[in-house]
């Protein structure tokens, strides 16, 4: 039995165990959902914007949205870099 076969078998078993656990957890979680801070958002957010999701992403968690736009920008820059702009040294 070669090394890759054993590794594949191990990965298959682990994936199977993981999927079964995940399905089991999902079955339980539907009863355990706790709204938590969302009540506060729905109560306070009406004074900020009519759409609560907008209130969350542009007011309470606006800093996450900044991070999101930074990711978009940096992904663009990394793609440009991969296609050859701004590499170090004399690569290609």
């Amino acid at each position: 039995m070669s090394k890759t076969t054993i590794r594949n078998l191990l990965a298959a078993v682990l994936t199977a165990i993981f999927s079964v656990t995940l399905f089991d957890a999902i079955y339980h979680i539907a009863d355990m959902i706790n709204p938590g801070v969302s009540y506060i958002y729905n109560a306070v957010g009406t004074q900020i914007a009519p759409n609560m999701v907008t209130a969350v992403i542009f007011d309470f968690r606006a800093y996450d949205t900044l991070g999101e736009s930074i990711i978009l920008l940096s992904a663009g820059l990394v793609v440009l870099l991969i296609f050859g702009r701004g590499l170090l040294g004399d690569k290609r």
């Binding site: 995940l22 079955y27 969302s38 759409n51 969350v56 996450d64 990711i71």
Partner: protein, 128 residues
Amino acid sequence: MAEVQLVILFTSVALVVIGLYSAIFLDNIIKKIIGISFIEEGVNLFIVAIGYKAGGIVPILMPGMDTTWFASNAAYPLPFGLVLTSIVIGASTLAVMLALVMVLYRRYGTLSTKVMLADTSKREEYNE
């Protein structure tokens, strides 16, 4: 608890499992990347399903609604906000991966992971 929610939660986990399977076991790198996009989709679907409220309304305050009634009946906005961020994150990482694949294809002429991502230390010894 609502039946709708349970069905959608199961769908999301099924998507995660399908994506995980393809990302681990398939050889073609584009298929792997499609599988990774399924994992991200499944996770997003899971988080949105947390925000669902049976018999609730869309969390948008329409003119004429009472605010206290709205607060106790609207769906939960926090998971929706998180998912909006994570969708964009997933798309960005996918774009970077595809760019790397396009450059590496020029060098190897194949999309097989076994050839493209062979263990580099072994390959260096082989080349010498």
